[in-house]
Symmetry: C2
Subunit: 223 residues, 2 copies
């Protein structure tokens, strides 16, 4: 890896986009484009061969999409940093991409300046994320934490309580649940109270949200 010049491989299935990216990047004296790939497969092959500092990779390519190519390069232990270009701000793909080994994430319509900055940062070994992406990341991480916390709460319930929780979330009434489990509707009431005390679920919507997040409602729906 040269200390002065940053070598870049472009991967995008649209020639015009490659052309545009190249034009923008060539305005920076410290960046040079050493190759262009037309799909993910080519990107992987060329990255392994040319060993660029940075691979600027489109997300949506045929033959092999950018996410798959990223994972692939990671698996092949390619030293190149990967900067993902995405058409729109699809923040939900961010975390999987970062896990797959991407170092940066940028929307295509970002300012030219931003692209150059991103390439430089990524080449330095830093991560580059748009502001929105950072927010999405924080949100996603929080969501995961939250989800883990909910799973822990769910695990802290007794078997009976878990059953009642699931059945309530599935929409069954107290008496219905009692009938299904062959216990009194009054007993079901007691479990509701316990669940409320233990993990704070008070009303039906709370139950449904909780169950949806933990995927408790997907089973048995396979029909």
């Amino acid at each position: 890896m040269d200390n002065d010049i940053i070598t870049v491989l472009l991967a995008d299935d649209h020639a015009v986009v490659r052309y545009g990216l190249k034009a923008v990047l060539q305005t920076a004296p410290d960046i040079t484009v050493i190759g262009e790939a037309r799909n993910g497969r080519e990107a992987v092959d060329m990255a392994m061969r040319l060993k660029p500092d940075v691979v600027v990779m489109d997300l949506s390519m045929d033959v092999m999409d950018g996410a798959t190519a990223t994972r692939e390069l990671q698996r092949l232990e390619c030293a190149s940093r990967i900067l993902i270009l995405t058409m729109h701000a699809e923040d939900e793909y961010l975390v999987p991409l970062l896990e797959a080994g991407a170092s940066g994430y940028l929307v295509k319509n970002a300012a030219d300046r931003e692209l150059v900055d991103a390439v430089r940062m990524v080449a330095r070994g830093d991560q580059y994320l748009r502001l929105g992406a950072v927010r999405a990341l924080a949100k996603e991480l929080k969501k995961r934490e939250h989800r883990a916390a909910e799973q822990t709460q769910y695990d802290s319930l007794s078997d009976r309580e878990r059953s009642i929780l699931r059945l309530i979330a599935a929409g069954y009434s107290g008496p219905d649940i009692g009938a299904q489990l062959s216990i009194s509707a009054k007993t079901v009431d007691t479990y509701k109270q316990r669940i409320h005390e233990k993990i704070g679920l008070a009303h039906r919507p709370d139950y449904v949200r909780f169950a949806v997040r933990l995927g408790l409602l997907d089973e048995g729906v396979s029909m």
Copy 2:
């Protein structure tokens, strides 16, 4: 494609498995193994080059899994038939694989005889599916039909009715829904009646099942 001899390409990342498959297939005088690939990528390359009658492909390979390779070959308009080998009976992958262009589906621990039969059938252009797979296929198709029917039903509702349906499924009570939509709880009652008449949802569990199947509860849960 020779009318007498069936040419086969094996794709599996375990040499022992390839060896075993080869041994089994070579016992059939009308089958000859013309190549072995160690991963999906190689399988695609070799299939395009060698044009075997049948590609016997493992599902789980690194570099490129069998499903991806199958899609890839389909996209490249490869004339070879593809017979998927799977470790266990993971029937849920069946339909996507068939859509991706696979002609057959076989568990690895199937009898030797079965493998030979499958290769022959697939080479002839027929589809080969294990009994269980056929059942899973029927089930999946039925499920899809059913799902499509439910989607149609959902679409047949008015905007208001759809809102009420979603909110009921989410666990909200009539009065709650009224407050959220700024209408009387009594009006909500009326919508319940309509939904019942129109698409037959009578009790809360019906609502929840319906909504889960159509993915109506996943939104807004992103937190």
